[in-house]
């Protein structure tokens, strides 16, 4: 399946910004099961400095410096992406074996499970979430079965509600509320998995939706989306699970960036010299072209 993705991100500042440094993580790259035919990132006003590079996890990042005073910042992404994912391995090892393998890993490469085992900036390991996750992982259960069960429980027991949480809501907070958006659901699931010693990663990207006649609209279609990858041992590798929608990540999920949590993949980090607040407007379109 080939898609055209368009995203516009517009910051409106209360007063002109004289100087700004930003890091953008908004350009998709080739990954297993995903090829990027073209990707363009436009920034207005024009940066005085712009550099491209890859972060540790292999995500594409763009550093920009803006020196022209501006009261809006517009970032537009246009990309054509082909997705064709291999079917997931049916049988995965017991979760205890996966845990032992992750602990003993001799791999420090970006996709090594070792990076995704520990608490990170926005995912603390919380005993309550651990106990919640633990009931999906009976002794000896296959790791993917347990992860799918956990995902389905989150989908069933949590309420999807925009505005209930913010970008900096912690997993214990959204867990206590039993509500939130895709970021919260993903963080809770990651926290639960890691607390049991299982590697779990955070994925930001896009979701195609509305193509199934009569099917319910999936959440997260007209905005950026987030889901989880779970490491299922050396053989099965990483498998995508979407706790917001209760489905495995398939050809409808387009990966933008992968990290330990939201903080690793935040679309835009920045430091600006300005006074006053700001308002953000984001629009996303994902259109199949074939």
């Amino acid at each position: 399946m080939i898609y055209d993705v368009r995203q516009a991100t517009i910051y409106h500042y209360a007063s002109p910004v004289a100087h700004a440094h930003h890091v953008l993580r908004l350009t998709p790259i080739d990954r297993t099961g995903q090829r990027v035919h073209a990707a363009v990132l436009d920034i207005d006003p024009l940066p005085v400095e712009r550099r491209e590079g890859l972060d540790f996890f292999g995500n594409r990042i763009t550093w920009v410096v803006l020196e022209e005073p501006h009261d809006t910042l517009t970032v537009r992404v246009a990309a054509r992406i082909a997705v064709e994912r291999a079917p997931t391995v049916a049988a995965t090892p017991p979760w205890e074996e996966v845990r032992a393998a992750a602990f003993a890993s001799a791999d420090l490469a970006p996709n090594s499970p070792a990076h995704f085992l520990f608490s990170s900036r926005q995912v603390s390991l919380d005993p309550e979430i651990r106990d919640y996750a633990s009931s999906s992982f009976a002794p000896g259960r296959a790791v993917l079965d347990g992860a799918v069960d956990l995902m389905n429980r989150i989908k069933a027991e949590f309420t999807y509600e925009v505005g209930a949480t913010t970008a900096s809501t912690t997993p214990p907070m959204s867990f206590a509320l039993r509500r939130g958006v895709c970021q919260d659901f993903s963080h809770v699931m990651i926290s639960g998995m890691r607390a049991l010693g299982l590697p779990a990663a955070y994925v930001s990207g896009y979701l195609r939706t509305g193509h199934l006649p009569g099917a319910a609209q999936l959440e997260g279609a007209d905005a950026m989306h987030a889901w989880v990858q779970v490491w299922c041992g050396d053989e099965a590798g990483w498998v995508g699970l979407d706790p917001t929608n209760g489905i495995l990540a398939g050809d409808d999920h387009l990966v933008l960036a992968i990290g330990r949590d939201y903080a690793d993949v935040a679309p835009l980090d920045g430091v600006i010299v300005a006074s006053g607040g700001q308002r953000l407007e984001v629009s996303v379109q994902v259109v199949p072209v074939s």
Partner: protein
Amino acid sequence: MALLDSASPEDGNITPLLSGYYCALPRNFDEMVDREGRVRAHWRQFLQMLAALGPDEVNRHFAAADRHLRDSGVFYRVYEESAGAARPWPLSHVPLIIDAAEWRQLKAGLVQRAELLEAILADLYGPAELVRDGRFPAAVVAGNPEFLRPLVGVAPPGGSHLRVYAVDVGRSPDGRWWVLGDCTQAPSGAGFALENRLALSRAVPDIYRALRVERVAPFFQAFQMELSSLNRRDDSRVCMLTPGPLNETYFEHAYLARYLGFLLVEGEDLTVRHDGVFVRTVAGLKRAEVLVRRLDADFADPLELSARSRLGVPGLVQAIRDGHVVLANALGSGLVEARAMLSFLPALAPALLGSELKLPNVATWWLGDPAARAMALERLDELVIATAFAGELPAHIQRRSVLGRDLDLPARAALIAEIERRGVDFVAQEAVTLSTTPVWDNGSLVPRPFILRLMLARVGDGWQVMPGGFVRVADHADARAVSLQGGDRTADAWVLSDKPVPEFTLLPTADRIAITRSTGPLPSRAAANLYWLARYIERAEVTLRLTRALINRTTDNDDAAALVAGRIVSLLGAWECVPQAMLNVKPALVAAAALQQRDLPGALPNLAGAAQLAASVIRDRFSPDAWHALTELSDLVNAPFEQGLSESAIFERVNGALRIVASFAGLVQENMVQVVSWRFLQIGRRLERGLATCRFVRRFGFDGDPHGMLDCLLELADSQITYRLRYVMVAARDPVIDLVALDPNNPRSIVYQLARIEAHLAALPKRGDDSRLSPPEQIATALASRMRTAEASEIDKAFLIEVETALMKLSDAVAAAYFTTRERSDDAWAPLE
């Protein structure tokens, strides 16, 4: 325990010193006496000289050391949580003495260890072969919060990750030194060690000289020269990057910066441009090529490290990638100080260096390994369990390490479950028993356990070890390392030389220091704090003068005095020195409020506090005396009125406070070199005084003088004597206004303030070669000419309001021209959907 060996006659006179020592001695290694109870050879001379002084004299000498620390020694405090909660960290006066042969061994072990850690950092941030070869589990690296991924693959500019390194060691019962922990992030202790050395060597100079104690100054000089040599351009200054005054070791940062001649900067002082890192100074951007980093690495760059950091420098990581700036230590160096590292070092030394560790570290097992986990759970009682990387243990233990047998049952069960689930987060360590060293206790010595921190600096291709150290001594006899986490007292460490030691000091000597009259660039933030400090102090003086004038008028019980008093009270109210609700109460109560009310911006406690806060961030630019005056002022205004609130008590306090303010002004005037930083103090003070005088004239200079208003104006402007000398008559409006507002020779007049401000502004560094007047100069010059040509008779309230408005504009213009204000935004992305 055997008694003192009475066969050694030279020890005879030290017997009283040791009377309490043996019974207190636990059954482990003691630094001063051996197992047979004999005083070790390298301690004898020290003890004999101490004994020769006699207990009273020793007490007197030790008290001198305490005084030294207290006086210079506001530096010598540990800050906890908030800036207010300073805790003194007292000196234990007896130094730890180490003999030359033992020191050589320690030194070799330390240098080897520094080389090992550097090699590990170079590998883990580079090819990571140690992980691929199975020498390091990936989780030990990946789980460490100090493994900074943006720095992977970045070769550190200057060639090495580590440039300063500190090691905590302890001595076990068998007499061997063991490494208890490594500090590679931003090691502290060198400045404290230096302060201890100064205090003690001045308190017992004869003993210090006689013992041939190795000097520490050459170590600091080598460190200083090494870092300076990394500057590639002549105009670059080495900067010490501090997180600021809230940090517990801030005083050490300020102290070392001053001692080493480095520029003390905070993240906000630095800016990254495409061609390098620069300090924002009052003279524009100045290049910085070397940063001694006392800021934890994760806070160093909000763009690529912790986005929540408000202390860092946006773009610093990129500047490092581009090779523009050397950091000591490199970002990410904290990786190797984790406890988990200790379990792998013994095996890594032969692999990386080709030799065994010369100095062992405390036996440590990382519990991510199944075999180690099983062993540790088996031997839980006798082992110490600690976090592998950072943070506290789970299950509400709220400590970083705990001895297995000290756990209560629920905590024990919870900890075991957690270790079984996530062993990767834990280490087990052999419980260490420390050796003891003597502490002076009312005329005799008692043994106390201690930890010794040793300091190393990279110099050229090798390492120098500071011959000395920072000793933390427990206040109790419990010698288990686990119970000495902070340390209760500190001590100096004396390394004895087998050769005569040359006198050496880093304090300036005529033949060593090249003459310079510049004190280097002044960061904009420091300039702003100097300016505001001066304004707060001057405002305090104004409030004090008003309060005194008010008290002076409470004794005359006539209507005229009451009218003047009413004006003073309303002025105090307008300046928010007293609450509005108090304006109609007795003047004495109003005066007391101005002196004591804590929540009012214009009252003394707030002004003194604000002055102290402004001064605290520029500690490196102050003499201890000037700082002392500020502390005194704060202590005075915050002291309760012991004898009740009488008018005379208030009067006395006001006068006391005015004396302190005057002494501060005097110290600044007479003891501060008249360079740029001094000028910002002066501009602040003159501007505040000009504003106050305008307001005094407006309130008391008009409506004729039926009630002694003009006398009050003369009093507030401290100009009565001049007036009486000049006019020998009662106060009349025009002469008074001429003296107080227009007389260029009266140091209290408005014209005088403006003339000084003009001169100071003209002497400030210019940006570029712009020969036009700067915006502040334009305002000051226009205002000064207007005032100089004015006649007393034309000055009315409207005129004065214009002057006040212009002065406030001038203040804004100074801020815009010289002080950066950088407001930051959270930049929070809206929630995803």
